[in-house]
Symmetry: C2
Subunit: 402 residues, 2 copies
């Protein structure tokens, strides 16, 4: 199964070119077995050089516990250099994602934890968000993740859960992904053709209208680097997404799945009321204070940077599991994200931050996905005249070409 996933991410995820360099960032040393398969597969596929960089959550913990407070946002020069180098050399970049430990950082003061962004630093996000490299995030199973998700350290059981989610159980996973991405691209094209100005989520206690930023495209998470290489940036992925207008979000929304904040807090039953794009009321069955702390990070943290549509055919949603891992959970159902929007959705976006904001494009240091879809929630597209067209009803994609 590891070999199949390695083949998939090398050939379909980053779509590695002959002679290309590759960076494999493993979020933890527990991901070594998968990292090795990816490196081996990449070299067999003609990679010039593969840098495997292992992060270690215990080393991060030691830093957060003991390093001087004014040092926690420090990033060493070699780290920044590896990002510059990947940009200069037009490398491929694979991230093996997944926290292998249960609550390892739970005892850390969130104010300290929030300062140490290593290894997912701003320059790294700028590199991938800017389409500088062909990149892909994949989940890396570990016994700790199996424990967290399934209540058993049996990593094979976790692979069995991930196989259909990653389409590794298909006879030809690469072909299954080609067909799947074609389907998502078709959904994005259909949404694009309808030219909706807003999307409305209603039912199950929610009634939220998310205005869409004028000119933002609907995309599937498969696009090109800025030098023209195709990639699939998240595996799994089940969504089509676009960018809200930061000032045109109104109504009330209830989250439909538990989610985890980057600090580690689980949030259940979040209820948010928006006015003019801004979250003005934040309540939850549990975790409300932690959410409020995240949304207080900056002005853009209270506004939306993404709206994404996923229907009930998603194998992530069908698994019925909560992974407490955004890479997986965001693909279970429709979601919105507080915070930073994706520049790739907006052609000819101005470079200047103030101009971006003035044009309704949200900026923030955070990007927090929350799941809001499900069988009880109907999703309508709203056109300029205010007419509603169903997109998802009873968890089924119902939008046809206009």
């Amino acid at each position: 199964m590891r070999r199949k996933l390695a083949e998939l991410v090398v050939r379909v995820g980053v779509n590695l070119a002959e002679g290309q360099d590759l960076v494999v960032l493993a979020y933890d040393v527990q991901h070594a077995a998968l990292a090795r398969e990816v490196a081996d597969t990449a070299y067999r596929a003609g990679a010039h050089y593969v840098s495997v960089i292992y992060w270690d959550q215990f080393v991060k913990l030691a830093r957060l516990e003991h390093a001087p407070g004014d040092s926690l946002s420090y990033t060493p020069a070699w780290w920044d250099r590896h990002i510059e180098e990947a940009i200069e050399k037009r490398s491929a970049y694979i991230i093996l994602w997944g926290d292998p430990r249960v609550d390892l950082l739970a005892g850390i003061d969130p104010a300290r934890a929030g300062q140490d962004t290593m290894p997912l630093t701003g320059p790294l996000f700028a590199m991938v968000g800017g389409g500088e490299v062909n990149w892909s995030f994949i989940p890396a199973p570990s016994s700790g993740a199996a424990q967290r998700i399934l209540g058993t350290p049996d990593v094979d059981a976790l692979w069995a859960v991930l196989a259909p989610i990653l389409r590794l159980d298909a006879d030809d996973p690469a072909e299954a992904w080609r067909v799947h991405m074609e389907g998502l691209r078709a959904r994005a094209a259909t949404l694009q053709a309808h030219g909706f100005t807003a999307v409305r989520f209603h039912g199950g206690g929610s009634d939220l209208t998310v205005g869409l930023r004028d000119g933002a495209n609907w995309l599937a998470p498969a696009f090109e680097t800025n030098w023209g290489r195709q990639m699939v940036v998240n595996m799994p992925t089940e969504e089509v997404f676009t960018t809200p207008d930061r000032n045109r979000v109104d109504g009330v929304v209830l989250t439909t799945r538990t989610f985890q904040l980057s600090g580690g807090t689980n949030v259940v039953g979040l209820r948010v009321r928006f006015e003019g794009g801004r979250a003005v009321e934040v309540e939850a069955e549990s975790g409300a204070d932690a959410v409020r702390a995240v949304l207080a990070k900056d002005e853009g943290a209270l506004r939306l940077g993404e709206v994404a549509l996923v229907d009930g055919s998603s194998p992530v949603g069908r698994s019925g599991l909560v992974f407490n891992d955004t890479l997986l959970d965001e693909n279970a159902t429709c979601h919105i994200a507080f915070g930073n929007a994706y520049p790739i959705t907006v052609p000819d976006l101005p470079d200047d931050s103030d101009e971006r904001t003035a044009r309704g494009f949200n900026l923030s240091a955070i990007h927090q996905d929350v799941m809001i879809g499900g069988p009880a929630v109907t999703v309508d597209g709203i056109d300029r005249a205010g007419n509603a067209t169903p997109i998802i009803a009873d968890d089924v994609w119902v939008l046809s070409e206009s």
Copy 2:
């Protein structure tokens, strides 16, 4: 035991300064448990930032098996940057050493294997050899190393072997090391005061006279960075060493312990005859061809770059074990090294390579230690007049102050 070793290498090995950055290079991800202890100890001791860089021998294997032949000497820019950064910032640098696998690279063409020097690259050796950082090599136990050395994967058994060798069984290991290094420094000072022009190894089939380079100092492996920080560069260490004259080595020497070439070949019963500093006959019970290949690397590979004295009190020697790991085995008994000499032994060494060579200082891309001491081998110091003074007899250090 891990905690004790971490304390020792942080406080005595690199002698970490408050607010200093530290790089921990772990030769393999199997060394993660020790790397974490070192990072934690360093942060508690006031480190500003600790970079833990894990190497992975399976990733190296994938490269050696499949990467293009003309790419194998390539080093990524981020790797070189981390070395430049350590020099710029006057960082500390700890290397967790020890190959955790048995014969992993045994099937690789030595011509390919020799080109991939990562992670112990030329710039890394230049950094440590030039005294740019306070650095220390320590052995990192692993189940694979236990299997190789003890024939069992029991890593606790290997820790039990290493405890006396690293003086971790002392009530106060740091104090034990202070006393130990004082003893080695006293030996070096005594040798220095005698002003020998050569050292002769005779007995047990050997009769080798190693001329010493005029002006080279005898040193214990505890010295200062070029900005004045004390360190112990190898743990364990039992030796005092100096630099031979590359043209004044004559006679025959037999190795007294099995050793491993960097390519992985075990060499037993090596017999070398020197004339005018040059190895002119190389025979062995096994491994002779591999030794000849190493000594053919360049002109300096056939000549000596180090002579080091260790007596029978060494706990490495007393263990009776062959570790197939130079960091340990070279401390079992007296040794010589083919290849590159240590600049630190020679004050006012000219920068120019030709001038260095002309003055008897050997240069080479290799540095291969071979063990030549033992109970049967007497070591004499030879003075300018040709008189012999015993240094080690019956494996006991007998040289007193002159």
